[in-house]
Symmetry: C2
């Protein structure tokens, strides 16, 4: 079933993995012991990659969707020759190591996506597979195939129980992503015990229903050849994604093998020694690798790599198709096309009032006209989100892999994770769209955009009670506060067309930060003093008032309201705050220049006030859920009126010197 060299290598992976967990006295030994043969087969007999060029665009991608098996990944990356030393393995899960408890894509060479939260990896992989197919369709030539990589996923039953995997897998089947191969580690165990307690569905049948190719390997603990031939068969199916169910034993070879007891805690020194003895290894030694194992890996990987040949091909390609090659190289390097920002639309107060979701549609289309790396779509709300792309290659579908508009279906969570996968692929700037309230469905994945530094643009329309009759189930209240509280996520709520363009300008230029752009359903005027560039400051004054009696600050649709209130008040500064996250990062002096000590501040945002205390003395916001009714009536009912802003401001002015805000900064 496997050669002796195979067996020694697999045992070494197992030993290294349990050594890591033992040294950390924390972690998950069971899955690495069970899955070592799968990972070994992939890395030495299947995948094309170059460990010294981990960013090579055409490498096969490996996604460890069951991220808690991180020790397995670190073992195999080390043995494969990635820049991950034995010392890092010894420092598994320790502060500042390259081997955190769950794999992080921007930290450890060879880690493609950040996993741990279950189900994310398999959905990321759908994005990676779309990315590959899309690049291939747009760049490969009849005589030259530049992009043809496959995407391999290892996942457990936890991943398959999560709804996100259902969403992503249904879409992958629909799209016929034949370059996606998932190896399902079926060990019949979850944390709570046997899968019998909660997971008894027929997984292969479910995947067949999605339109996948499926197969089964009976002895995943030992049968390298069986695993290999299942993978080869899956590779031969190019019009469907594949799911290979591999029967394994969690904690294989330990005395508690096949039980949940071996899932999430160290085996203990004695047991580690016993397992090593069973494998014919020296039980006294830890982190020991026989030279022959390195050789096994080196030789196999060199034989499969394909890297040198690809570099040659690319040079030929560049000669024959210089424009295409230049565009691809630019995208790989992460450089934006020249003039991109200038191409964004600009507005004057004379332009008609219009919903920011519509000016968003214009900005997005302006980008689309020159940004070939733009790819994305909506979770079945294309018309409402105004995300249709007018020019370009059309829908990404089975029959049109060149398309850059993705019909995600009603699948918000998968949409976000697929966008993460596209961003992680490299050479793409993905976007996803839905109503602002429903980014909540995608929280698990959008959080990972931020955490793993992926430039995903979330186009979120219908951003407040202003959406009207669809009522409280659709009216976000907590959403802006929630994402402002999330590190490395920029939340934009532009007030008008210029700020919409400015928000997109920021979003495409912050290469390691995702953005949420919150947009109105209802019309808003184009404001005097607004600008595309000012968005880069986070907050800025729309009017010039030397010594204001009061500062009014608002975002989005409420900015025009404070403009009107300021007109009534007279000596009031009007601050638009399209991105509080950016503003917060500015210096105390810059903040104080807008919000001078002693001057009262009234903030207005049709959303939760949580977070506004840092910048204002009184907030006019939402402290309850919304209601059903026409948007203007709701705005009035909940106090978003010129009268209310004016009287609140007058009260504060009358109360005298306002407490310093700047102590907070």
């Amino acid at each position: 079933m496997s050669t002796n060299a195979d067996q020694v290598a697999i045992n070494t992976i197992r030993a290294l993995s349990i050594d890591q967990v033992q040294a950390a006295n924390s972690g998950h030994p069971g899955a690495p012991m069970g899955c070592a043969p799968i990972a070994y087969t992939l890395f030495t007999k299947v995948m094309s990659f170059n460990p010294k060029q981990p960013d090579w665009i055409n490498r096969d991608r490996f996604v460890l969707s069951n991220g808690h098996a991180s020790a397995l990944l670190y073992s195999i990356l080390h043995l494969s020759g990635y820049d991950l030393s034995m010392d890092e393995l010894k420092n598994f899960r320790q502060l500042h190591s390259l081997t955190p408890g769950h794999p992080e894509r921007d930290l450890t060479p060879g880690v493609e996506v950040t996993t741990g939260p279950l189900g994310q990896g398999i959905a990321n992989a759908v994005g990676l597979a779309i990315g590959s197919r899309n690049l291939a369709a747009n760049f490969n030539q009849e005589d030259m195939e530049l992009i043809n990589n496959n995407v391999y996923v290892l996942c457990g039953d936890g991943c398959l129980q999560e709804g996100i995997s259902s969403e992503a897998s249904s879409l992958a089947g629909h799209l016929g992503l034949g370059n996606l191969i998932v190896l399902y580690d079926d060990n019949q165990i979850t944390i709570d015990g046997s899968t019998d307690v909660s997971f008894t569905e027929d997984v292969l049948k479910r995947y067949e229903a999605y339109g996948w190719h499926t197969s089964y390997v009976e002895d995943g603990d030992n049968d390298v050849e069986g695993i290999l031939s299942a993978i080869e068969a899956a590779k031969a199916v190019t019009d469907k994604p594949s799911l290979i169910k591999v029967n394994t034993t969690i904690g294989y070879l330990s005395s508690k093998q096949g039980t949940e007891g071996v899932h999430g805690s160290p085996l203990g020194a004695e047991e580690v020694a016993a397992v090593k003895a069973k494998m014919g290894m020296d039980p006294e030694q830890s982190f020991a690798v026989d030279d022959s194992v390195y050789t096994t890996f080196n030789e196999a990987i060199a034989a499969n790599s394909g890297y040198d040949k690809w570099v040659e091909s690319f040079a030929q390609f560049a000669e024959k198709y210089p424009d295409l090659a230049k565009d691809l190289q630019r995208r790989i390097d992460g450089e934006l096309p020249e003039g991109l920002i200038d191409s964004l639309p600009r507005y004057t107060p004379e332009d008609a009032a219009v919903a920011t979701r519509k000016t968003s549609g214009k900005a997005l289309n302006a980008l689309n006209d020159s940004l070939s790396e733009l790819i994305g779509g909506s979770a079945d709300l294309t018309g409402s989100n105004v995300t249709a792309l007018k020019n370009g290659p059309g829908d990404f579908q089975k029959g049109n892999n060149a398309g850059n508009y993705i019909r995600f279906g009603v699948r918000e969570h998968a949409m976000a994770a697929i966008c993460n996968g596209l961003a992680a692929y490299g050479a793409f700037i993905p976007f996803g769209a839905t109503f602002l309230n429903f980014i909540g469905y995608a929280q698990g994945a959008a959080r990972l955009s931020a955490l793993s530094h992926l430039r995903v643009i979330y186009i979120m329309t219908h951003d407040s009670i202003g959406l009207g009759e669809d009522a409280q189930t659709h009216q976000p209240i907590e959403t802006l506060s929630s994402w402002r509280a999330t590190p490395n996520m920029n939340v934009f709520r532009p007030a008008d067309g210029n700020e919409v363009s400015g928000s997109y300008a920021q979003a495409v230029q912050t290469a390691t930060t995702p953005s949420i752009i919150a947009l109105t359903r209802q019309n808003v005027p184009n404001l005097e003093g607004s600008s595309v560039e000012a968005v880069a400051q986070g907050g800025y004054a729309l009017n010039e008032v030397e010594n204001p009696d009061v500062v009014l600050v608002a975002t989005g649709s409420e900015v025009s309201l404070i403009v009107d209130a300021a007109a009534e008040l007279g000596n009031a500064r009007v601050v638009s705050m399209p991105c509080m996250d950016i503003f917060e990062a500015r210096s105390d002096e810059e903040k104080r220049a807008l919000f001078p000590d002693g001057v009262p501040v009234v903030s207005v945002e049709a959303a939760s006030g949580v977070g506004w205390s840092a910048f204002s003395h009184k907030h006019i916001g939402m402290s309850t859920f919304g209601k059903s009714g026409p948007g203007e009536q709701l705005m009035e009912y909940f106090g978003f009126t010129v009268d209310n802003v004016v009287s609140t401001a007058k009260e504060l002015i009358a109360a005298g010197d306002a407490p310093k805000l700047s102590l907070k900064w």
Copy 2:
């Protein structure tokens, strides 16, 4: 296929529905026109209910999972005799009407759960079905069947695309919920166009893979008998849930029938008239109902109701089984058992330091010993969440419907929605558990707990970087801020055992508010001055200091840190804030009593600082994601040390009079 009376009634439903949308000039006419025969069949030929007793515990439940078809629901509730007048239908989607854009359970009689966010309803229905089966198993006697209701769901393809429906349906199949019958309105249309663009899976096969009974009705536009016989066949399958795919035409009878053009906007007056003419109705009349239609509904509903007979049975039951009857009545009335709160464990500083997840386990078990309505479980983290129930009826499984511990599997989103369904069923207090960070996966459903006033208890352990090595993918940062910003959600972060008990005391007593209880993985000491009762104040002082130089405020595991810092500082007040939401609702005077004007406040919480500005001058918190490493090392690395608190406090004291905070309140 249907009698003339059926046809007239169905046409009336269609007409009323399009009239509502037309009057509101907003809403969704397409689904009501296509689904009228399904709803009609259910309400007049299948379901047992009494419109004048909408809270009758054994009524069959109807869930409109595709909540955007609300006009259909309002039409049929009106015709069925619920307290929903024609004027309310005329006020569809208007401010203060009983007919909001999407159905709201606590507003409109006959609406069982709040729907609109897709996929929620079908998952709620799994909770309703579990509730029914559990009550039946615990209360029915061999000679008396008190509880035997069924749960009917109408859903569209949007619901089935959402991951939450996959999670819930897989679990429903596992649990063999034969009392759950889902009618899938297969109209081949989504908002973006044909389902061909994104949804081509084989739905029936997928549901068979989950272990469901499936069937198909070809002409859902007309074939009442076919719909009825499919439902009867499904009812006969008592060990499996059923999915009936019903082929319908969206916007049936309109000129744009069968297209996305009829999904989400009014038909227009002309088209409304044309449809009525086609149905043989007077095109000039709106909101017109022939008396014969009311009669059709009245007679059919009276024949099926079963209510009077049930009341009689219950009286007999009460005579024969007085204790059981009393307990059921108490639960239906929402009264807690006497002495419940006193049964919660209490601690003194002499008790050993222990993780709050463990004192949570003790409190939960104390409740479980006397609270027969308690039901819930964990998303496959029973051991980590410490939610195992020691006494009682065991796991809720196919073979043990009396069990009150639910093995949700790795399905956080469905878990929350199922808890919503259980709470909406009545006579249950449900709980769900996972790591705090992964309530994000359940955001869509947990938000609806708050919005629809459902007492669900979210037991969320591993609540900060203090969890250690599992690293940033598992360490919540934004979560507390996010849920504090959510209206009607109480976020508890207890500091020790007493506060844990106090949090549970609040959670079970706030009958219309869900709670999140955030708990540590790591040990914390039992504090001097903490108490079960004080949690009701939201925030309170742990020590008595008349005129403090500084106030230190913290939550959860950071409270013991400020206790130590206060000891070093001398004249410092220590405030524990186990629930900021409750504290915020207190009077200005009460707030000022804890945080006196002019006294500097330092707040400490190992999470985002967003929201703390309302109560403090300087926050020691997290402004980035976490890291991998032992919890104590992370706490130190990120500045959660006595030294840091002391020096921050000293700086503030030295800076002199602190700005008033109270302006914010």
